[in-house]
């Protein structure tokens, strides 16, 4: 009884952490970008207010849309929550780590993407279809890259379970500097940019037909549906950053539930996440969005880097 | 004692280069170049005499080395350089007269010619494989501007291809040398010596065969590119076609032999270390391939100098093929062929240069009736072509015949038959084109004149040498070649 109760508490803690801080991270990125553009920019907590506002607003649904349209925001939100439960953030091992491993995470992302792409087609608007097709062609290159990058980390640790990977890595700090690891990190970083729809792959702030991919698919959403989808993307970003920081540099992560460890773990986690978020913002601000037909080349580089990472692991050894 | 010889052979071309750099008057440059190449040539004979006495010569640090093989080739190369230097006098004077060449260009020519000679000597005298490499790449660099000499579009294109392809090849050869060094490091006592060919020969049996096999492949491709072995020969027609005639001659007679020398050194080493006919088989294959590749390009050719370039590819193939056969008789034939080919190529390229100057074109169907326009050069041309295609009583017939019999007696029947087939086909093509060029009436009135009599005399002497070699081989020469054959046997 006690055990289950602890488990529920711990999971709730993890969930709450991700839910609550995701908008903050998104706000930090927006603020940094604004600073780069020599603007003051909105405050970092603005996304919370935006979400609250959206939740209060009326929902408008296209008459042609089907049940898919209404279900998808909940589906995407829920799948992202499950991923949030699986990815080690402050503590490892994560309480529900036996639910799934990396492959589950990848498929959960794919699930979300699949439904959003369908929704883009569902509303019958041209923009939606446009976004869906672009998104799918990007995904076809990004998925293998992501898998290879994550597998490199998995092969190093000898397991596909995220918590075990992080645990093993945090106990042997030297392995973090393995060149295969570093290459996998850079590969996964590019994947993050592509998956979360950031410049130079996609512009999250645009609604111009020429340039939008992700935004195109969710163009028709409003009110609470939009809120859920927005929140889910923010959590997705946070999860990716958590993957990047904890799978490759799990410094300071807590291995027990003692208060001190939790404190250190939280501090370390947020530091790393914020640094990564700023880096993402810098990358976004210093690069121009790629023309659409150049995007596959860029993603190919991610694929090759991840591929090289795996090969180097076998050549140079762990 | 040996250091004096080495210094002489290396230092004379260096001195020549430095002096050429300092002076700009045409007469002075001519004298410097002829003297330095002549002195080098004489020193080569001295080297040969010493080597006959002492079999091998080493320098104190072990960087320089000479034996029967290198002494023989040094004579051929320095002799070629000397002949070319002499001929260049007349050639460049005519070009100056025709306003094709101005004083600064003339100076560049002689300067680079001296440097070229130095780089070739560097390769031929090196014991250190690293120096061998440095010298080989240096020969490419020294000749780069010589190939681009006339600065036509096609010349620059040819020079570009030449430098790029040869540098790529040479870089691969460097990897092969590193692999050789790697295999030697574990075996040779002092690591400073692990790059020295003489030290490597001593421990050949202990070198790792697998690594050496891989190294040999890279070296064959690398130095084969320099020699113009197929399929790495693609730079040759362009470079030989565009370069001034004396330079093409020196490249065909000098550079080719220098590259072949590098191949031979490694061949000896690898054959001793690996055995089992690995190196020989590769040589036979590449040799036949070169001859085979040359056939269609000779039969379907428009430009005379490119024709000669493909002939060079063919003859390099012949020599490599003979080396691959591997019997002492074959080695003798190969080395004799080295000499004959060098003389014949110089003769032909220089004569072709005369034809071109008289007619203003290298395209063969534009040249007809040469016998009426430039009788001396035309005769030399047709006789030279007979010589190079292996017609008795010229020298090449003797060396090719030796190689063929070596092929048959050693049991390589099919390759030998292919060999004969290739030679015959090439002969047909050559004779067809040359007779059309030489005989008959000139299409249209041609204003050109022949070279001056001194140059023609020089060419006549070359032809005479070929004739002599076809009839009998002086015993001194036989001795030299036999010495070199002994080195090849390892």
């Amino acid at each position: 009884m006690n055990d289950t109760f602890e488990m529920i508490l711990a999971s709730a803690f993890q969930l709450f952490l991700v839910l609550a801080s995701a908008p903050l991270i998104s706000g930090i990125i927006k603020k940094t970008k604004a600073r780069f553009q020599r603007r003051r920019g909105a405050s970092v907590v603005q996304p919370y207010f935006d979400l609250a506002k959206l939740l209060r607003k009326e929902v408008v649904v296209s008459p042609v849309a089907s049940w898919l349209f209404r279900i998808t925001p909940y589906l995407v939100f829920a799948s992202t929550l499950v991923i949030a439960l699986l990815v080690p953030t402050v503590v490892t091992p994560v309480p529900l780590h036996w639910i799934g491993d990396i492959i589950t995470v990848i498929y959960l992302f794919a699930l979300g993407r699949f439904f959003v792409a369908l929704v883009g087609l569902d509303t019958g608007s041209a923009f939606g279809g446009l976004g869906s097709s672009r998104e799918m062609s990007i995904a076809s290159i990004i998925e293998p890259a992501m898998m290879l990058a994550i597998f490199t980390a998995a092969v190093t640790a000898g397991s596909t379970n995220l918590s075990i990977i992080v645990a093993r890595l945090s106990s042997t700090p030297v392995a973090m500097l393995n060149p295969a690891h570093l290459l996998a990190f850079s590969g996964l970083f590019i994947v993050t940019i592509a998956e979360t729809g950031r410049v130079p792959v996609d512009n999250p702030a645009t609604h111009l037909e020429l340039t939008m991919i992700h935004e195109a698919m969710i163009l028709e959403y409003s009110g609470r549906y939009l809120a859920l989808i927005e929140w889910a993307s923010q959590m997705k970003l946070m999860v990716f950053l958590a993957l990047l920081s904890n799978m490759f540099f799990p410094v300071g992560i807590a291995t027990t539930w003692s208060p001190w460890a939790l404190l250190v773990g939280s501090a370390a986690f947020f530091c790393k996440i914020i640094v990564l978020a700023v880096i993402v913002a810098v990358v976004e601000s210093t690069n121009a969005k790629l023309r659409l037909f150049r995007v596959p080349e860029f993603l190919m580089v991610a694929f090759i880097l991840s591929f090289l990472a795996l090969i180097l692991f076998f050549i140079i050894g762990a | 004692m040996s250091m004096i010889l080495f210094s002489l052979l290396l230092g004379t071309p260096i001195a020549g280069s430095i002096l050429c750099a300092l002076f700009h008057k045409r007469r002075v440059l001519e004298i410097i170049t002829v003297t330095s190449s002549g002195l080098t040539f004489l020193s080569a004979f001295w080297l040969m005499a010493k080597v006959m006495q002492e079999t091998t010569l080493h320098s104190p640090q072990g960087w320089w080395y000479a034996d029967g093989l290198s002494a023989y080739i040094i004579i051929i190369v320095s002799g070629s350089a000397f002949v070319v230097a002499l001929y260049s006098i007349g050639y460049l004077r005519r070009q100056i007269y025709k306003r094709k060449v101005d004083a600064p260009k003339l100076w560049l020519y002689y300067l680079l010619l001296n440097i070229f000679l130095f780089t070739m000597m560097l390769v031929l005298l090196s014991n250190n494989l690293g120096f061998l490499w440095i010298g080989s790449e240096a020969t490419t660099l020294a000749t780069a501007f010589l190939v681009a000499f006339y600065e036509r579009e096609s010349s620059i294109e040819a020079a570009w291809k030449y430098v790029v392809i040869c540098s790529v090849g040479i870089t691969l050869a460097l990897f092969g040398i590193i692999l050789t060094y790697f295999s030697a490091l574990h075996v040779v006592p002092a690591s400073g010596n692990a790059l020295h060919w003489s030290s490597l020969m001593l421990v050949a049996k202990e070198l790792d065969p697998a690594v050496l096999k891989l190294a040999f492949i890279f070296i064959l491709i690398g130095f084969g590119t320099k020699a113009g072995l197929a399929p790495m020969h693609t730079w040759k027609p362009d470079a030989y076609g565009e370069a001034p005639a004396p330079i093409s001659a020196l490249m065909a007679a000098g550079l080719v032999n220098v590259a072949l020398y590098s191949l031979m050194r490694f061949y000896i080493l690898v054959d001793k270390a690996v055995g089992g006919g690995f190196a020989s088989t590769l040589f036979i294959i590449f040799g036949l391939m070169s001859m085979g590749v040359a056939v269609p390009f000779i039969l379907l050719q428009r430009d005379f100098k490119r024709l000669l370039a493909y002939s060079s590819v063919e003859h390099v193939g012949i020599i490599v093929f003979a080396l691959g056969i591997g019997t002492p008789l074959a080695y003798f034939g190969a080395l004799l062929h080295l000499l004959n080919n060098a003389i014949a190529k110089i003769l032909l390229f220089l004569t072709a240069g005369n034809v071109r100057m008289a007619y203003g074109s290298r395209i063969m169907h534009k040249v007809t009736g040469a016998i009426k326009v430039i009788p001396a050069s035309a005769t030399l041309l047709i006789l030279g072509v007979f010589a190079i295609t292996g017609w008795p009583p010229f020298g090449i017939f003797v060396s090719e015949f030796t190689i063929i019999s070596a092929g048959f007696t050693s049991g390589n029947i099919v390759p030998a038959i292919l060999f004969v087939g290739f030679i015959t086909t090439i002969f047909v093509g050559f004779i067809y084109y040359t007779s059309r060029m030489v005989l008959g009436e000139p299409h249209r009135p041609v204003k050109g004149s022949d070279a001056d009599s001194a140059s023609l005399l020089l060419l006549g002497l070359l032809l005479g040498a070929l004739l002599m070699l076809g009839v009998f081989i002086p015993s001194q020469l036989q001795q030299c070649i036999q010495n070199a054959v002994n080195v090849l046997k390892g």
């Binding site: 030297v174 500097l177 393995n178 060149p179 295969a180 570093l182 290459l183 850079s186 596959p296 080349e297 190919m300 580089v301 090759i304 880097l305 591929f307 090289l308 090969i311 180097l312 050549i315 140079i316 050894g317 | 250190n128 690293g130 490499w133 440095i134 790449e137 660099l141 780069a144 681009a148 600065e151 579009e153 096609s154 620059i156 020079a159 570009w160 291809k161 430098v163 790029v164 790529v168 870089t171 460097l174 990897f175 590193i178 692999l179 060094y181 790697f182 295999s183 490091l185 574990h186 790059l195 697998a210 690594v211 891989l214 027609p237 362009d238 076609g241 390009f297 379907l300 050719q301 490119r306």
Partner: protein, 225 residues
């Protein structure tokens, strides 16, 4: 030099070698001539760093000069020369390919695998102690192959120079990895040769530009058979 120290040197060498390979791959993925030159400079810098690490870790002081030469010549001087050449001649800075980027990158991945097997065959036959740096051999062979690939599939004259230099870097790295570099005088001679080769090719690029309108290799096709 304790064992711990040696292993960190080994780790650093591994990281730099991987970085060198990455720069080579990024060159293949790039469309801009200026980027090519910058990546090459970075690559040579990493190479010099590897050489310095070999000096520090294994005490082979004769490579010190080679290391400095690599950095001074290949990482600084040659890129400067090449950039000057680009500025002087009006050339479109976009590179044309005969094999597009995506396919090229896949081929490069294949080349890395191939070079690994070649390196294994070289090293496995050597019984006894192969130096720790030998793991880097596969990277060097890959660089040679990628350099050759760049030369064959990119159509600008300047890219051929960079491809050649990349091959050279690969060979130098292979020398470092299995033999700790060749004797000093040989390495210096090799450098000298390369510098002159680049200068000569640079002069030719000028001349090519004067006679042709572009420096694309496609136009150098007038000499056929």
């Amino acid at each position: 030099m304790g064992i711990i120290h040696l292993s960190t040197i080994g780790l650093l060498i591994d990281i730099f070698a991987a970085a060198i390979l990455v720069t080579a791959v990024l060159i293949v993925s790039s469309r801009s001539l200026v980027f090519y030159i910058r990546l090459f400079a970075l690559q040579s810098f990493f190479l010099g760093a590897v050489a310095l690490l070999v000096v520090l870790g294994y005490g082979e002081t004769h490579i010190l000069i080679a290391a400095f030469l690599t950095i001074a010549v290949k990482a600084i001087a040659i890129p400067m020369v090449l950039t000057r050449v680009i500025e002087r001649i009006q050339v479109r800075k976009e590179i044309e390919f005969s094999i597009n980027i995506t396919a090229s990158l896949l081929l490069c991945a294949g080349m890395v695998i191939l070079s690994d097997s070649v390196a294994q065959s070289i090293l496995s036959s050597q019984h006894g102690d192969a130096p720790a740096v030998s793991r880097v051999l596969s990277v060097s062979i890959a660089m040679m192959l990628i350099g050759l690939f760049i030369m064959m599939t990119r159509k600008k004259a300047l890219t051929q120079i960079i491809g050649l230099l990349t091959m050279e870097n690969g060979v130098f790295l292979s020398g470092l990895s299995i033999t700790y570099g060749m004797p000093l005088i040989v390495e210096v001679g090799i450098f000298f040769d390369i510098m002159i080769a680049v200068l000569i090719l640079g002069v030719f690029v000028f001349r090519i530009n004067k006679t042709f309108e572009t420096i694309s290799i496609d136009s150098l096709r007038s000499l056929r058979h």
